[in-house]
């Protein structure tokens, strides 16, 4: 690098291109933008719109061909009790997972942001990054091992003489099942586990931006720890939690692998879409189903943006 501190002015093609670019910053901007915009704008958004358009077509009940005439009948099918149940179940699961993830993530993020220093801070960061980036399927698989009837949870429960508690949990109507890996509890635990790091990171980032002297000022002015939390820390941490909830909510809405591997046979949105486009060949209804998470996420994102969550990302 050192021998290029002052470079000789170049002539030739490069110089001319460079000068041309320098005089036309807008053209340069367009040149930079064009390839990624073409990829995302045409390939991605194009496919997305093509898919969404299908939601307004319907399928011929007898031949199974798609009728390319605009209709709202496919969208209306979403409100059939069977289909609506799937949507409701998925949204409730996503909400429950988000709340649980926030409750578990907050203390960890607070500790890592306020009390961990130097090497410890780096360690905490790695402790979150490793599970975040380790293989999704490996993580799901590990819970299959844990939740199995002959697995570690049953073993621990037996050792602690708590088998009755586990049995009572599994006997819960609707939510229970023959074993944890075939119940709603299982699906819930696995979702929380898999998306938890997505909640921790933005929460911790938001908490780290809370100036320590603000907290000290609050206690100097006579605020109890509870009041300091409610009036100083919480409002500043909220954008981080909301940023995290974007991930936990959206990822749960669209996931179809977890309920397929761990859970009762009840369908979730992702599975419905997967089966409809695959074996059932009903692309219009599959497309109508995908409209639901897109709509939910757009509403969610616009609320999040208003609450300043994007700055915490």
């Amino acid at each position: 690098m050192s021998d290029h501190v002052i470079s000789d002015a170049r002539g030739g093609l490069f110089r001319r291109i460079s000068d041309w670019i320098f005089r036309r910053p807008n053209a340069f901007l367009i040149l930079l933008f064009l390839p990624p915009l073409l990829w995302l704008g045409v390939v991605y958004i194009g496919s997305l719109l093509a898919l969404l358009a299908h939601a307004f077509f319907s399928i011929d009940e007898f031949s199974g061909f798609i009728i390319y005439e605009p209709t709202l009948s496919t969208i209306a099918q979403l409100f059939n009790p069977a289909n609506f149940d799937v949507i409701l179940r998925t949204v409730l699961m996503a909400a429950a997972v988000t709340i649980a993830a926030a409750i578990i993530a907050y203390p960890f993020a607070y500790f890592a942001a306020r009390y961990a220093k130097g090497k410890w801070k780096a360690l905490f960061y790695i402790l979150v990054m490793l599970p975040l980036w380790s293989s999704y399927l490996v993580k799901v698989y590990s819970w299959k091992l844990i939740l199995a009837k002959e697995g570690i949870i049953s073993w621990v429960a037996a050792k602690l003489h708590l088998t009755w508690l586990l049995d009572a949990l599994l006997a819960t109507p609707v939510l229970g099942g023959p074993s944890l890996s075939i119940s709603y509890f299982g699906t819930f635990i696995v979702f929380v586990y898999i998306w938890l790091p997505f909640m921790i990171l933005p929460t911790q980032a938001a908490l780290e931006r809370v100036p320590a002297n603000l907290i000290e000022a609050s206690s100097d002015l006579g605020g109890t720890p509870g009041q300091t939390f409610r009036h100083v820390i919480w409002p500043l941490a909220l954008p981080g939690l909301i940023a995290g909830s974007i991930f936990t909510f959206s990822l749960t809405l669209g996931d179809y692998i977890v309920p397929q591997i761990v859970g009762s046979s009840a369908f979730y949105l992702g599975q419905a879409v997967y089966t409809l486009q695959g074996t059932a060949g009903n692309i219009p209804l599959a497309a109508a189903f995908t409209v639901v998470p897109i709509l939910i996420m757009f509403v969610y994102l616009s609320i999040a943006k208003r609450m300043g969550a994007f700055n915490a990302l």
């Binding site: 320098f22 390839p35 990829w39 390939v43 799901v140 590990s142 002959e150 320590a212 996931d255 897109i294």
Partner: protein, 274 residues
């Protein structure tokens, strides 16, 4: 200045943080334990006895090697595409102001903000409409779409720390745009790009949802995650899956740790003074 009277963490908070760490890591450790079990029909805990024979079994299995090789190919090409497009997008968004900029940034995070299944089914129906046969390349196309986001985020974060005055100084000293990029910009964003590339590689190597939609049915379709998914749904030799799981973890951990060390000192980037 920070006060030295930093209060000690209350024990309740420590306990909650510790439990959270255990929750995050014990499941991963169990995978290691189960790779040595002699029990291949169930997930019995504790394992009845221990053996290392499964590692040898995996070594002999050609289908696993094929899956690994396919995943490596796909991840490499998708990462290369993402590096170019993600950097271009970050360079364009950095410092420029124009109407609709917010929407463009939203467009770049959309493939990650929307559930993967939507990306997957949208691409699948587009391939069907355009009569594109499913192959390794359709998988790469899908992977590159969300890998761009990772590179873009990493590059943009570093660009923001890059001081604009350094670029002006370079130009003032007579360097043209290409020289400035080569000798001033690239050395500063290089490690962020490497980190973004590694994360993109790990992400693609591990992707399963978009892959199930963009893959065909032949040998070209069985990436390592798809192979694992088949094993999860229809288990054959369970410990074999564990050995493969350990392998996958190691392959993804190394780039993640490397990416962390590359971006760790980012705050000290030259010229980033307040």
């Amino acid at each position: 200045m920070r006060s030295n009277l930093e209060p000690r963490a209350p024990w309740g908070l420590k306990l909650a943080a510790l439990l959270c760490v255990l929750f995050l890591h014990v499941p991963l450790l169990l995978i290691f334990l189960y790779a040595f079990t002699t029990e291949e029909k169930s997930y019995q805990f504790p394992p009845p006895a221990y053996t290392t024979k499964w590692f040898a079994v995996v070594w002999e299995r050609q289908d696993i090697w094929d899956a690994i090789w396919l995943s490596v190919k796909i991840a490499s090409i998708a990462t290369a595409v993402a590096l170019v497009l993600g950097t271009l997008a970050a360079a364009a968004l950095w410092k420029s102001r124009f109407i609709g900029k917010d929407y463009i940034s939203l467009l770049f995070i959309l493939p990650i903000a929307l559930p993967g299944i939507i990306t997957g089914i949208a691409l699948r129906s587009a391939f069907n409409v355009a009569d594109i046969p499913f192959s390794m390349w359709t998988i790469i196309l899908g992977h590159a779409t969300f890998c761009i986001v990772v590179v873009f985020n990493n590059a943009l974060a570093r660009f923001r720390r890059l001081s604009g005055s350094m670029i002006e100084a370079s130009m003032d000293l007579g360097a043209d745009g290409f020289q400035t990029f080569r000798y001033v910009v690239l050395p500063q964003i290089g490690s962020a790009l490497l980190a973004g590339g590694m994360l993109a590689f790990a992400l693609s190597f591990d992707e399963v949802i978009v892959t199930t939609f963009t893959a065909g049915t032949g040998v070209d379709a069985k990436t390592l995650p798809i192979w694992m998914l088949d094993e999860l749904i229809r288990p054959r030799q369970r410990p074999v899956t564990n050995v493969v799981a350990i392998f996958v973890m190691c392959v993804t951990f190394i780039p993640i740790l490397a990416a962390y060390y590359l971006t760790r000192d980012a705050e000290h980037t030259a010229g980033a003074g307040k």
